[in-house]
Symmetry: C2
Subunit: 512 residues, 2 copies
């Protein structure tokens, strides 16, 4: 059975309606609702992250933060607002973002007559940061005098705003949470090495923690971050074959240093501009996680970022069961939380809420908790428990004795299953044998919006490098060049679209 068909095996009854195969975009919304992760708010394009969704982000942040610190970075915090004039200093940069900015123009909501209207107009409009290169560049310019002050290795955890015309929860929201690394270096080589190092950090995090296999590579010129010299990225494939850019790392050269005047005296006593980088991942990773791992019964959370890794549901037929079942649940909980996974105590709890236990079971399945343990009066007598593995819902519940349950091993199995299933889909839906523009058109021909089942995905093929020449064709099909993957095939045929000599292989695909 191929990975793709395996994904489509349905339980008799699924918790999520519609299922993926019927309406993938709506399925995505329903998974989020079923898992109680987040919801769109009354504020256009802005979401509310509920505890189960925010809890994921907290654990993701904590792991990333540790990796940033291990590579020598420190956290700092810069203003939310950027004066219009500051943003204009780097021309490509401001043009890249000008169409989607929240602009603050007033500093009061009450006028002299006591009416509630915007009042107190600002001398200069302020932009709610869409990213912080310019405001951080201004600070770096103040901080950098001598080569001794370099490198500056800073990270910021923050909210940013980009006015999205077609918001989609987690994947594209007007406000989102992210981290943005900003560094300044005395040499190009050091800055380039930083840029690559952080892409590696992202790849390790995304693969080992989120169980998302990704393709690392470089963006083509037209897809670069506005103002960057090189943009590197990791691209993930969703179950419908579309791409999500899972993280980016930019080598900015001296562009922003010149715009912000980040200069320093080098060892020889000469004044030079610094070389800067920036890199970021955001809450859209949660969208990628859902679209990769969820199934027709709801979310499946990679164990390393599951706010709860194990949930215990006590099953009491009547009040006489209560005391002994609860006491035994506490024993099981203590045994589980004394075990570790990835160097931390296992996160587990007993669900004591006043709901029928069957409802609770389905709630946790929809939330995607990796392991579910049900304990009834008979289990107490047998010193046993019934284990449900979220990644193997079709298997019969495993009834096992308490001393036989190896939680760490179970969680590893969960992670590995999620990763391997995602990798199998990525491989199956990456087409490497398309040679002509006709084949290319045929491949991407059918509409992409509900494309879970049509088998489309990535096309890895040679490209001439002339983006202008292919722009119209790609646009008409809603396809973009995702990246120039680091892993290139040895033999390079002619460009799949123009037939001209190719510069390199690229990944073509539709993207969120």
């Amino acid at each position: 059975m191929s990975a793709n068909t395996q994904q489509q095996v349905k339980s008799q009854k699924t918790a999520i309606t519609p299922i993926r195969a019927d309406d993938y975009p709506e399925w995505y919304q329903q998974v989020i609702k079923g898992a109680d992760m987040a919801e769109m708010s009354g504020v256009r394009g802005c979401m509310v992250m509920k505890p189960w969704g925010y809890g994921l982000w907290e654990l993701m942040s904590r792991d990333l933060d540790r990796r940033f610190k291990e590579t020598g970075h420190e956290n700092a915090y810069f203003p939310l607002f950027i004066p219009m004039s500051l943003l204009q200093k780097e021309a490509d940069h401001v043009e890249g973002f000008a169409k989607e900015m929240a602009v603050v123009t007033h500093h009061r909501l009450i006028n002299k007559d006591g009416q509630l209207v915007p009042d107190g107009e600002l001398d200069e409009p302020l932009i709610v940061r869409p990213t912080s290169e310019t405001i951080i560049g201004e600070a770096f310019a103040r901080w950098t005098k001598s080569y001794r002050d370099l490198p500056i290795l800073i990270n910021q955890w923050a909210n940013v705003v980009r006015w999205e015309m077609r918001p989609r929860i987690f994947l594209r929201t007007a406000e989102f949470l992210w981290q943005e690394g900003h560094t300044a270096h005395a040499s190009e080589a050091e800055a380039r090495s930083e840029t690559k190092q952080m892409l590696d950090v992202y790849q390790e995090f995304v693969e080992n923690i989120l169980a998302l296999p990704v393709i690392p590579g470089e963006k083509t010129p037209s897809e670069r971050f506005p103002g960057a010299v090189n943009t590197y990225c990791i691209e993930a494939m969703m179950q419908d074959g579309k791409a999500v850019q899972a993280g980016t790392s930019h080598y900015l050269g001296q562009n922003f240093a010149k715009a912000s005047n980040i200069s320093f005296q080098n060892k020889e006593g000469n004044i030079e501009f610094a070389y800067t980088t920036s890199w970021g991942v955001s809450t859209r990773l949660i969208g990628a996680l859902i679209m990769t791992h969820a199934d027709d019964n709801g979310l499946r959370v990679p164990p390393a970022v599951a706010p709860q890794q194990v949930v215990i549901i006590p099953i009491m037929r009547d009040e006489s069961d209560q005391e002994k079942v609860m006491a035994y649940c506490e024993t099981v909980l203590a045994s589980i939380t004394s075990q570790t996974f990835a160097g931390q105590s296992v996160r587990a709890k007993i669900d004591t809420r006043d709901y029928p236990s069957a409802d609770k079971r389905w709630q946790w399945i929809k939330k995607g908790v990796p392991l579910l343990i049900e304990i009834g009066p008979r289990d107490v007598e047998n010193n046993a428990m019934a284990l449900t593995r979220r990644v193997n819902l079709d298997e019969k519940k495993a009834v096992m004795p308490l001393d036989k349950i190896d939680i760490s091993q179970e969680l590893k199995h969960c992670h590995e299953t999620l990763y391997q299933q995602a990798l199998a889909i990525q491989k199956e839906r990456t087409c490497t044998n398309i040679k002509t523009v006709e084949e290319f058109k045929n491949y991407f021909g059918t509409s992409g919006e509900k494309s879970f089942n049509n088998g489309q995905g990535f096309v890895k093929a040679p490209f001439c490098g002339d983006e202008a020449a292919v722009e119209d064709l790609l646009k008409s099909m809603g396809v973009t060049i995702r990246c120039i993957p680091f892993e290139q095939s040895r033999a390079l045929g002619p460009c799949v679209i123009t037939g001209r000599p190719a510069q390199y292989e690229v990944i073509f695909g539709r993207a969120y």
Copy 2:
């Protein structure tokens, strides 16, 4: 020697100019600059928190977050923007904040002609949140149907904006970082108990972690949070006798529940409005920490939140020393980081930067690192080190053998010294024997701006409760009622200002 005079003992040379006694407000700015904690940015009223300042906030957040989770709260995240109409639902609330709001009116910075000007006017202005009761209330209304859905116990870590007319770094900035707790309950008693519990959490945190002794109490009606039924607070005293409100916890009754329609079906089947609370502390706590603990040589950081608790400075006379001194420094570092303080590994590092060691010593003193260890070639031979305790700079460096240094004990001593010195000032500058309005006027008579040395502070005295009657007098002196302290004297004389029968004792003082 009294605590106050003890504070004024000066080293021959002080690292901060001016000293506290000469110009307290300017000294505060210079301490922050000397410690490299933060700086005002080019954006009006907004600061940049540099790694040493943000590092403090990170450690404060982590400790608070643990306390919130231990008391059953979960983190979530709500939109940065609040539609004008939503904010207007609670009349007192919007009026309380309307004069200091950042208002977003446009969503583009480029017009059709390609000019960079605000464009795309919004149908309804959006307010950058000054606090989130209204936007969170809207969500709670969606989430609350049955008594089973209550309590909702939520905390948010976020940035908020209040357009301050006279910004002061950390204490009053246009944008600041904070946490805001928001809870909804099925009964008044439960909501009131939550309000008090969180005030206790704040007091324990501020006293045990930040070494700030505080006075817990309730705000008088005119000082309440806009829309609250009761506001509780903890008030800290700075070294100049002025107050900083270090944390607040509000019982909101059903005011916001009615405005936002947070209603639920109770066990009897009737529809009721919920009872809500909110509570918060912010980066202004860092301002309080500085104004309480710093001295004329710079910051002194309470060890529990010091980004580095111990710094080791290697002292090399020439290159031949380098290898053996560095090797020994690593041994000392390993020994120190294997010790624990407050349940965590001691945070320590070797300062290997390319600066003269005397400069490094003063940099770390100004940063307020609790313990400074200097190691030269002779120390290597003696298996010793020279220890400087930041809270006892006037004592001679203690040269001690490596196996005799008890870091945990040293850090405890540092915390206790900071706390006791602050407490002594609070006691010495709290006046409890003022009986008449003349004495009251005399006490607060002199100008408050540079009042480090004039001995003013808090007046604890009986008050009639008629705030309107005392408003003009207090305003003319720049004095406010800080709180009705929970700890009341047994005998209650007449009101210190009006001479009428008193309702309770209050704390009068000037405040930041």
